[in-house]
């Protein structure tokens, strides 16, 4: 039966669009959450939007599950295949449909890589704001499906805040166009609802993005602290001052050590934590704001404050920051990264608990996080070869997630629920709320064929493999935040 379906699929699409067979499937059986694996029936590699539509309509008619795939960098198992389902991979759907520098809008196909949007916009002094650390490889479709973030969310928001409209083929086969080129809409925000659907509604074909003028000036400061708490208090002081920095990030000692080893980053000696604050805007505004920032940091007990003197020094600071997690990953054979959120004022308390939980579990945890948003990124290191290594790490991860919920936060700030955190959804949402979300999913996908097994607690569990660096991180192509 399965092979009959493949035959019909082959007949439907031009030659070369359908890959089947074990050798081909290996490349697609995992995503950035390498712990999980599943073998799809076939992989469809469409070259045009019409081919995507045809493939989805085929799946709908045959009631075959499908998983949309961008670059497979999801950290929560979002693009993990469904066993005996179809993977529809969108990397070849990567054209700029329209770029209007006057209205500051780009319409791109969903397989376009995040940084390629900014590259296309750069000649006009424009950029696409969302900047996940995986931006040189992840796709706009993946960003939309996960409502991905980055280092600049406090001021600029997530992906959905930059998506003005989109064209998609829903799991029913219906092709819809939500929103448009205007920054305002009338009627319910269908575009906003589509963003963050984790591939459960259908496949985005084309996305209309707002572009922003690149800030004229950046002022990037790195401050070293003797304790993590002191760095946390400095964040509170910056926030309380009324400044609105573009980014506020913290790295702890273990993360610093790793970044030094990996990219020869240079930090104030003996720092237990480093704080990065970046101001941006017209030069006159930055000039005034930096005076205020300097006063705050001078009074924050920093051991040393360094200011990036030029673009190269700024890039070096960000390189250390953006490579930190992959660097930590190199210190340990296996690791899991969490991205729970806590109210910002509870950051210190949360980090203290994470330290205690880690000690109890006899595991090392490095912290690199978006302090401005309260978005933690604890990286739990373990050895998968120890019989209970993974189990201990997962138990620790679960404890951290529960702590985030108990503090009034969230189980995920930007990596999505996927497979990894689906069992925690009932702790964050009531039975009614989950039922409501399932009804919403059914409105878009009555047959439950679009990325089934994700976001909602489900019976069938995928096969466990090992944790560790994403293959592209191992190759040094990307690093995680």
């Amino acid at each position: 039966m399965a092979s009959d379906a493949i035959k019909r699929l082959l007949a439907l699409l031009p030659p070369g669009r359908v890959l089947a067979g074990a050798a081909h499937m290996a490349a697609y059986e995992s995503d950035g959450l390498t712990a999980f694996r599943a073998a799809p029936l076939a992989v469809v590699v469409p070259e045009t939007q019409d081919e995507v539509i045809a493939a989805v309509r085929f799946c709908h008619a045959e009631k075959l599950p499908f998983v949309a795939r961008g670059s497979g960098t999801s950290l929560s198992g979002g693009s993990l295949p469904v066993t005996n389902g179809i993977v529809i991979t969108l990397n070849r759907l990567n054209r700029v449909v329209r770029l209007d520098p006057i209205e500051r809008v780009a319409v791109v196909e969903s397989g376009m890589v995040n940084t390629h949007v900014t590259l296309a916009a750069q000649p006009y002094g424009l950029h696409f704001a969302p900047d996940p650390s995986s931006q040189s490889i992840c796709t706009i479709g993946g960003n939309v499906a996960f409502n991905s973030g980055g280092a600049h969310c406090l001021k600029y928001g997530m992906t959905s805040n930059h998506v003005l409209g989109l064209k998609a083929v829903l799991a029913t086969g219906e092709v819809v166009t939500f929103g448009g080129s205007s920054r305002e809409q009338v009627g319910p925000d269908w575009t906003g609802l589509f963003c963050g659907n984790e591939g459960l509604f259908g496949i985005a074909l084309e996305v209309t993005l707002q572009l922003l003028p690149r800030a004229e000036m950046f002022h990037t400061v790195l401050a070293g602290y003797a304790t993590l708490e002191a760095a946390g208090e400095a964040v509170s002081a910056v926030i309380a001052s009324g400044l609105l920095p573009g980014a506020i990030e913290i790295m702890d000692a273990l993360a610093l050590e790793a970044a030094v080893a990996a990219v020869h980053a240079d930090y104030p000696p003996n720092s237990a934590a480093v704080l990065i604050v970046e101001l941006e805007g017209p030069r006159e505004v930055v000039a005034a704001d930096r005076v205020r920032l300097e006063k705050i940091l001078a009074g924050s007990g920093a051991m040393e404050v360094r200011v990036a003197k030029d673009a190269a020094e700024r890039l070096a600071i960000w390189k250390g920051r953006k490579s930190a997690f992959s660097a930590v990953g190199r210190l340990s054979p296996d690791f899991i990264v969490q991205d729970g959120v806590v109210p910002r004022r509870k950051l210190g308390e949360a980090l203290k608990h994470i330290g205690e939980y880690a000690a109890e579990a006899r595991l090392r945890v490095a912290n690199v996080f978006h302090a401005g948003d309260g978005n933690l990124h604890p990286l739990i290191m373990y050895n998968g070869r120890e019989p209970d290594g993974l189990a201990r790490a997962e138990a620790l991860a679960g404890k951290i997630l529960r702590m985030c919920i108990a503090m009034g936060g969230s189980i995920t700030g930007e990596h999505g629920v996927g497979v990894e955190k689906r069992d925690y959804m009932p702790e964050m949402f009531t039975v009614d709320e989950l039922d409501c979300m399932k009804r919403v999913r059914a409105a878009f996908d009555p047959e439950t064929i679009a990325n089934p097994g994700k976001m909602f607690p489900a019976a069938e569990a995928p096969v466990l493999a090992q944790h560790g660096l994403h293959p592209l991180e191992k190759a040094g192509v990307i690093s995680r935040e």
């Binding site: 805040n161 009338v186 659907n197 003028p213 969230s410 629920v417």
Partner: protein, 357 residues
């Protein structure tokens, strides 16, 4: 219109009132009455007593308020801590509620800089058509768990559920502002100023225009010492003048309350793009006594017609009527199967009015 008006005081009472009404429409302060003008079969449930700020943590940049809380009350509480809702919510002085503002999906001039209402809403508690009180989204500034229903409720006009409580992200207010009035010869020149000014290093805080008078209004916000230099640079490009603080206050009040519009007239919001401004201006000039106000750098056009008047043909842009005569959706709205399916998902029994009624 039905005479019975229910006034629940808590989210649970709201859910009770909804379960008791086979057909219901939620109303706030009534500042956008066209949106709730539905058949008399619908019981009117007012949020006027469902009010109060539930939680406000300045250090978190977030607050949670009951749906019927007047914007005025929220702005006052935020101002005490130097914070504000950056999208300049509309009709605050007229008494608009935060819940009604979400359901109407309207933003004021400030949406130009950091985004509209949709970009600041974080979470909602709402009652679905089955009378279930639920929470979606979160109370922290960043959250990606579950579908983004809070955004979906923006502009949903009470057709899919009744908002009980909303959570928003807020920002610190800039130290100072300065408003410049720039002169434009005609609609084309005006449009050029809008698009050029948006593509500069200045990072304007608001960019509105009044085509009837041929003015563009650019608002700068930031440290006082920076604004003088930026203003000079802008005047070097286009002729104009800085408004006095009092004149600027008046102007933004006029924009924020649509005080420029015909009293008791029809008020329509059009979602446009900057290059459509000349076409909008022309369409408006073809309507007797029509007035318009361009907002958000040319992404919104507000059109006002005298009482009882509406445009005979559909607008070329997505449109919704907030006040006065005419169809609710005076553009050419699209209709997909998934719209009906979503209605069934959130309101299976059709307790709330249909989106197109």
């Amino acid at each position: 219109m039905s005479a019975t008006i229910h006034q629940p005081t808590t989210p649970l009472e709201l859910a009770d009132a909804i379960r008791a009404a086979p057909r219901a429409i939620i109303v706030g302060a009534g500042t956008k009455p066209r949106l709730s003008r539905v058949s008399e079969d619908f019981a009117r449930i007012a949020t006027t007593k469902l009010r109060g700020i539930v939680e406000y943590e300045p250090s978190e940049f977030t607050f949670t308020a009951l749906a019927g809380t007047p914007l005025r009350e929220i702005s006052a509480a935020l101002a005490k801590c130097g914070q504000y809702l950056p999208f300049d919510p509309l009709f605050a002085e007229a008494g608009a509620t935060i819940g009604g503002t979400v359901a109407a999906g309207v933003s004021g001039p400030g949406r130009f800089r950091f985004g509209g209402l949709r970009d600041f809403i974080l979470g909602v508690r709402f009652v679905d058509g089955d009378g279930r009180l639920m929470r979606m989204g979160g109370k922290v500034v960043k959250n990606a768990a579950g579908f983004d229903l809070p955004k979906f409720f923006v502009g949903s006009l009470g057709r899919f559920g009744a908002l009980a409580e909303v959570t928003f992200k807020v920002f610190p207010r800039a130290q100072a502002t300065r408003t410049l009035r720039l002169l434009a010869r005609d609609a084309t020149a005006l449009t050029k100023i809008l698009t050029d000014a948006a593509n500069t290093r200045w990072e304007l805080d608001a960019l509105d225009a009044t085509p009837g008078e041929g003015f563009v209004y650019a608002r700068l916000a930031g440290p006082e010492e920076a604004l003088e230099v930026l203003a000079r640079e802008i005047f070097a490009r286009w002729p104009g003048a800085t408004l006095t603080a009092e004149a600027a206050r008046q102007l933004w009040r006029e924009a924020g309350e649509c005080a420029w519009a015909h009293a008791g007239g029809t008020l329509v919001k059009l979602a446009i793009t900057p290059s459509a401004v000349p076409a909008v201006v022309e369409a408006v000039s073809g309507l007797p006594e029509a007035r318009s106000w361009i907002s958000a750098g040319g992404n919104v056009a507000w059109v006002s017609l005298p009482p009882g008047k509406s445009r005979a043909t559909p607008w070329n842009w997505p449109a919704v009527t907030m006040r006065g005569a005419g169809p609710l959706w005076p553009g050419s709205p699209v209709n997909y199967n998934v719209f009906r399916a979503m209605k069934t998902a959130l309101d299976p029994q059709g307790r709330y009015p249909a989106l197109d009624s």
